[in-house]
């Protein structure tokens, strides 16, 4: 009986310990900070840009980094120029730095100015018979290429860049401070772990394409700041092709 006592005590301890012990945190978090990035005379910042989180540091994601270094970014102007968008349409996008016509409300003034909007509005008027509805639903009558083409192109580029790599998470920077939070990053029992953070798709600023490639080591339970302008990140700057209206090739 006495021989069994230590064993009983051990079993009892094993049962009770989980309740007593503080469960160590197993989730990490990273705050991407784009505030320090100021590009060109307009001091552009990466507002509303998507960043991706992958396990492992730069070394573990070397193939991806190599692909990012070699990427040939396409500019918004060239995309729409090749899509045969009118100069007025491109100017409308550029006016508020939009990528797609979904970016902002298309006003009655815009309809007057931009031929694509005029055509879509006329179609809508015939179909919906209500001027206000034809204007508000104008994108439903725009050609697919102008409507979502740039988004599709970016998705294709992203799939090519990622290859077999699968991001753990992706988040978008806000428009207040160009900040984004990766939260609840599963880390298991590890004390620290290296992660790879990048926007992957070149961000168009001041006529160039910007890619941030970052490595960060994080500890569970602590928010790890990741300022894009510090040495934690390498900035890959790629020249963007220039396409003035009507002078782009149609590749």
């Amino acid at each position: 009986m006495l021989k069994l006592a230590p064993l009983t005590l051990l079993v009892l301890l094993a049962c009770l310990l989980p309740g007593w012990a503080q469960v160590p945190p197993t989730l990490g978090s990273i705050k991407v900070q784009g505030k320090g990035v100021k590009v060109g005379p307009k001091k552009e910042q990466p507002f509303r840009k998507r960043f991706y989180l992958l396990r492992g540091g730069l070394e573990a994601n070397k193939a991806l980094v190599d692909r990012l270094r070699a990427v040939e970014p396409a500019s918004r102007d060239c995309f729409y120029c090749r899509s045969k968008a009118s100069p007025e349409f491109i100017d409308w996008l550029k006016e508020k730095n939009c990528e797609t016509p979904y970016c902002r409300e298309i006003t009655a003034e815009d309809v007057k100015k931009v031929p694509e909007f005029q055509a879509a509005y006329r179609k809508g008027l015939t179909q919906f018979r209500r001027p206000e509805l034809a204007r508000k639903w104008i994108t439903t009558n725009l050609p697919a290429g102008l409507r979502e083409g740039i988004y599709r192109q970016k998705k294709t580029l992203l799939a090519g860049l990622l290859g077999d790599a699968t991001p753990l998470q992706s988040v978008m920077t806000d428009s207040n401070n160009a900040e984004a939070n990766f939260i609840d990053i599963p880390m298991g029992a590890k004390k620290t772990e290296k992660f790879f953070v990048s926007n992957l798709l070149p961000v168009e600023m001041d006529g160039k394409g910007y890619i941030w490639v970052c490595e960060i080591e994080i500890t569970p339970g602590k928010l790890a700041p990741l300022p894009l302008h510090t040495k934690k990140c390498e900035t890959i700057i790629r020249p963007l092709p220039v396409c003035a209206a009507g002078s782009c090739d149609n590749k």
Partner: protein
Amino acid sequence: MRTALRILVIALVAVCSAAWLLLSATAQKRRNEFFHNTAAHKKIDCASCHKTPTANSVSVRGFPDVADYPGHSSCVQCHRSDFFQGNNPAICTICHTAPSPRNGTRFPFPVRSRSQEFTTIFPHNAHQDIIARNERPDGTVPAHFVNASFGGLMENAQALAYARATDAAPPADDPPPQFNNCAICHQTLSAMPKFGNRQPMRAQALVQASLDSFAPRAEFFKSTPEGHASCFSCHYQGQKPVRTDCAGCHRPAAPYLASDVITRYSLRFDHQPQHHAIKDCTVCHVRITQNSDISTMKDADVPFMTCAACHDKDFEKERKNRAESIAAKQPAFQCAYCHVSEIGRFETPASHRIP
């Protein structure tokens, strides 16, 4: 022996009668309810019954929509016999308020009080991507995609600086900014909704809730889309999923009664003060831009860390009050900065503790 046989026959007749009554009642009940998820209905394409748009939609909704029930022809192919069951066939009451040859009045479509059979598929992440601007608009409070013209932007950068420096309400001629990307679907309410406390699932209540007379205002809450209005402005045609692709947005689910009660952990949170209103929604709703399936969202999902970024001193006071009350072996202090007492009386969750 003969008596026993008689009893057996009587019992058998009683059981059979009861079973018949039960089955016919169930069948009757089923005939006046419509279920999409029956084996026979699941084989049919949605568009073979639902016409988009229905003839009444513009007058009822103001835009082309599915605003009425399918016609008789959709039902009669399989349910012809049900249409001739008695003087007042049960099948008619699925759509008609008081079925009779002279009264064709139908319930408003859809009947909100009936059980729902579909959940909505909505990827916030894709929507955030396609509408992104390359930069914060000059001279504008942070806002991003501005389609569908739900309200205007406050074109005044000074208001942003003013709001950062003060906590005061904006001047009357400077309305708070509309974050149009989110505001297309989620608008500030003007009428008081039904609301309630969202109860913590695992935490223990430390004390009885003290009397709390706090009452939120309508503007504390945001709407959620109840129809196709905000979807069809882009997806009516062209942009997939289009209006006829019901399965593009609706996923079959076990029937459930949708609640119109908005529940919150932090009922005291007000979106309207300038220091909140000037912020991009994603500053606090941090997971929204990564969410690809609305059904995986537990709630509006604001992690505590986003509140603590500005309010940590306020929270520190609450933590101190609670710690002191417990140390003094008094009833636990009920946190009241964000919560009403119904929630503030619970034990402090791990997320609220100092790391």
